[in-house]
């Protein structure tokens, strides 16, 4: 004898109406037969048999309301069992037991806000070998070329990456060396070519997907966040998505609101992504190589204005910069200034100005935003007792907001002043030269913030 229970149509349903019986007592029941119709205020559902036999008893007559989920509503006798027809008897409405009530919360210590940190990778050792002076543009190109030589599964795909040699000339020469199979011009279809890259990465290839600028990646955000970032977790670790999305981020010059935006905090918000925003050419090269070799989806934020800037770059093709380590650009005593991407240059100019006024600033190039190297920042703040964060993006829910929160959590007692944020002004980027200048963090803004946290 099998009891048939009142089904729930949704996890929140606690009771419902038995609208109609499709089978009567004595009827033979096969799996899949529609037994009854159940109704709630929201939905009606036909309810099918899973067990076979003969309907021996109807416990709840049709038309009955307020039947609790999981209350027995009928009985099925299996083959050979006596079918015991019985008159339907009304069942008093029962207080509903919520079928999906969450188990009582364990009395655990307060939860950590994020996964226990993986052991921090060692910082790269100081380079003493031969170096070449390269622009950021060429450093990126060399990183891709070297990794493509090293691994046949690495390929570059995006708009204008092949024949045009890159909208910003980053992929110069790659088509000639690697051919059209591995350097692929796409139609203007960010959403699908990002998704195509993710699918190829799930199949084990190592795509580098170039967005002409990160502004256009908003067309593709769903594939980056829902498909790339979450698949490893949703698959219990079976799938991986080794892919790099790269391109220029943040304000270029005079291109106005739709083409000038810093997406760092958008992507840094998402577990499953790694987010990198380098400043020097050496870091662009070493971190892009690390990103290409990484088994996770990596968001690699470049900056158009930096493409032409030159820096010394180690000549060794195996020079790699570990993801997740910040770099102290210049040591200082009185205030810590964090920055990333082009803002490192602005912070350095501010530090120069501050030095002229007797304030020694420690400038930290974050380089990686997720996982954030909070230890380096904390160590610095424990020394300087003051923090100014700089970013091109908006302050609200920005990188600086996150750093300030984490410094409160980890170094509250060392702070001599509330952390200050220097950020892009809370407006869409204006076009006029003077307004654009006002909208972006300038060295003077950083100087003023550094003085404010130093009560000077």
């Amino acid at each position: 004898m099998v009891d048939i229970l009142m089904p729930a149509l949704s996890p929140t349903m606690t009771e419902g109406k038995l609208a109609k019986w499709h089978k009567q007592v004595g009827d033979a029941i096969k799996a899949g037969d529609v037994l009854a119709e159940i109704e709630t205020d929201k939905a009606t559902m036909e309810f099918e048999a899973v067990d076979e036999g003969t309907l021996s008893e109807i416990l709840v007559p049709e038309g009955s309301e307020h039947i609790a989920v999981n209350a027995p509503i009928a009985r099925i006798a299996g083959e050979g069992e006596p079918a015991k027809p019985a008159a339907a008897k009304p069942v008093a409405p029962q207080p509903a037991a919520n079928p999906a009530a969450p188990p009582p919360a364990p009395k655990a210590p307060p939860q950590a806000a994020s996964a226990p940190l993986a052991p921090r990778l060692a910082a790269e050792s100081e380079w003493t070998g031969p170096s070449t002076t390269l622009t950021v543009r060429d450093a990126l190109r060399d990183a891709m070329a070297e990794e493509m030589r090293r691994d046949g599964d690495v390929f570059l795909i995006g708009e204008e990456v092949a024949e045009y040699q890159g909208a910003y000339k980053v992929s110069q020469g790659l088509l000639a060396e690697f051919g059209a199979r591995r350097v692929i011009d796409t139609p203007i279809s960010e959403h699908a070519f990002a998704g195509l890259g993710v699918g190829a990465a799930m199949a084990g290839l190592r795509p580098i997907v170039e967005f002409m600028t990160w502004n256009f990646a908003m067309q593709a955000v769903d594939q980056l966040v829902n498909s790339a970032a979450k698949t490893r977790y949703m698959s219990g670790g079976q799938m991986s998505c080794p892919i790099v999305f790269r391109g220029p981020n943040g304000a270029a010059a005079r291109v106005a609101a739709q083409h000038s935006q810093d997406y760092a905090s958008w992507y840094a918000h998402v577990p499953g992504l790694k987010v990198i925003a380098p400043y020097t050419a050496a870091d662009h090269k070493g971190l892009l190589k690390a990103a290409i070799r990484d088994p996770n989806p990596v968001i690699f934020l470049e900056n158009e204005i930096l493409y032409g800037a030159s820096f010394p770059v180690p000549s060794d093709p195996d020079y790699i910069v570990p993801i997740g380590r910040a770099r102290i650009v210049r040591p200082g005593e009185h205030v810590t200034i964090t920055a990333y991407s082009r803002m490192v240059e602005v912070a350095e100019r501010a530090a120069d100005a501050l030095a002229g006024e007797g304030i020694s600033a420690e400038v930290i190039d974050l380089r990686t935003l997720r996982p954030l190297d909070i230890e380096t920042i904390v160590d610095s703040v424990k020394k300087t007792n003051r923090l100014v964060s700089v970013e091109e993006g908006w302050a609200f829910a920005g990188i600086g907001a996150e750093i300030a929160a984490q410094i409160m959590e980890h170094a509250f007692d060392w702070l001599d002043a509330p952390p200050a944020r220097v950020a892009g002004k809370d407006v869409p980027m204006p076009y006029a030269a003077n307004l654009e200048h006002l909208a972006l963090p300038q060295p003077d803004d950083i100087v003023a913030a550094a003085k404010a946290v130093g009560y000077r």
Binding site: P7, A8, L9, S10, P11, M13, A31, G32, K42, A43, T44, M45, E46, F47, E48, V50, E52, V69, N70, P99, A115, P116, A118, F155, T186, P187, S189, H191, A192, F193, A194, G195, L196, G197, V198, G199, A200, A201, M202, A203, G204, L205, Q223, N226, S227, R232, Y233, M234, S235, G236, G237, Q238, M239, G272, K274, A290, R293, D294, P295, N296
Partner: protein, 342 residues
């Protein structure tokens, strides 16, 4: 433009080309479809008991589509679909126990309880999910096809999605690239006439879905997706085309879901009559059963044996899914990032 329609799109649900199969094969198809049907009924029941939570989209009525498709592919071909995915996993050979245990959110589930009904994967069986965003699996499946093409491994990507998904822009972006680069992708539209409560007539200016690929030069057919032999014949042709390097192919499978969109469905957007007519006149499993019996290929006893074996398998899966423990709390933090290999 280099691509022009190579063949006229045609519709042939009324003049089905059917695959010829042996009696044994037909019995296999019967068993495979029945496994999905019974699995889904059990899942529906367990949902009703509060053992399965969240969204749960059942495939009841549509079994012939994935069963026929999987009968037409070769080992190594890849499969991807949206969230109505239990049938696809079973058809790919994934273990009903692991699938059911994922539905109940247990550690023995395919995703250790972290994916649920809509997100399961099997590397071993070349099943690439299980995706909850309508339309998103189409570029992903195109990317699987891209990988096959890149590796020149003669594999084909079977990419399933719904009639509702056909109105997502990324589908056409994908068609364009797949046709442009001749990627080996067979796009299978599971046209069950509705996206949630919105019928094709109310969502699609042109109801001819497969024909929407024609401007990209992608050949396509409309197929009776309730007839498993018609599905096999069509998918065989499409897969062969894609495998031979000619590019993508689109098949619109006319099918029907008997149950609601998900478990909570107001069922106010279609008539009961429509549903019962489909069940009574077009049921994919009944059709095969009838062929087996009428053709003298199997008797009632043989079918009863199969029914019982399938039932036992499902009971075992359901017991396993209820008895397995929930994931260890430490699982919360695992599988967010992969380790960098040295």
């Amino acid at each position: 433009m280099a691509v022009a329609a190579k063949r006229k799109p045609k519709s042939r649900p009324d003049e089905p080309v059917e695959a010829e199969v042996s009696a044994e094969k037909l019995l296999d198809l019967y068993r495979a479809m029945l496994l999905i049907r019974r699995f889904e009924e059990k899942a529906g029941q367990m949902y009703g008991m509060g053992l399965i939570g969240g969204f749960c989209h059942l495939y009841i009525g549509e079994e012939a589509v994935v069963t026929g498709a999987m009968a037409a592919v070769e080992p190594g071909d890849t499969v991807i679909t949206a969230y109505r995915d239990h049938g696809h996993m079973l058809a790919c050979g994934m273990d009903p126990k692991g699938v059911m245990a994922e539905l109940t959110g247990r550690r023995t589930g395919y995703s250790h309880g972290k994916g649920g009904s809509m997100h399961m994967f099997s590397r071993e069986k070349n099943f690439f999910g299980g995706h909850g965003i309508v339309g998103a699996c189409v570029p992903l499946g195109t990317g699987l096809g891209f990988a096959h093409h890149y590796r020149d491994n003669k594999r084909v990507s079977l990419t399933f999605f719904g009639d509702g998904a056909m109105n997502q822009g990324q589908v056409y972006e994908s068609f364009n690239m797949a046709a442009l680069w001749k990627l080996p992708v067979v796009y299978i539209i599971e046209n069950n006439r509705y996206g949630m409560g919105t019928s094709i007539a109310r969502s699609s200016a042109s109801p001819n879905l497969f024909g929407r690929a024609a401007p990209f030069g992608i050949p396509g057919h409309q197929i009776d997706g309730m007839n498993v032999l018609a599905v096999i014949a069509a998918v065989q042709e499409a897969v062969e085309y894609a495998r031979s390097g000619k590019g993508p192919y689109v098949l619109e499978m006319l099918t029907y879901r008997y149950r609601g969109h998900s478990m909570s469905d107001p069922a106010k957007y279609r008539s009961k009559d429509e549903v019962s007519r489909m069940r009574q006149e077009h049921d994919p499993i009944d059709q095969v059963r009838k062929r087996l019996i009428d053709g003298g290929l199997a008797d009632e006893n043989r079918l009863k044996e199969i029914d019982n074996a399938v039932k036992a398998q499902i009971t075992e899966a359901a017991d396993f899914a209820q008895q397995s423990p929930e994931p260890d709390p430490s699982e919360l933090w695992t599988d967010v990032y992969g380790e960098v290999s040295a």
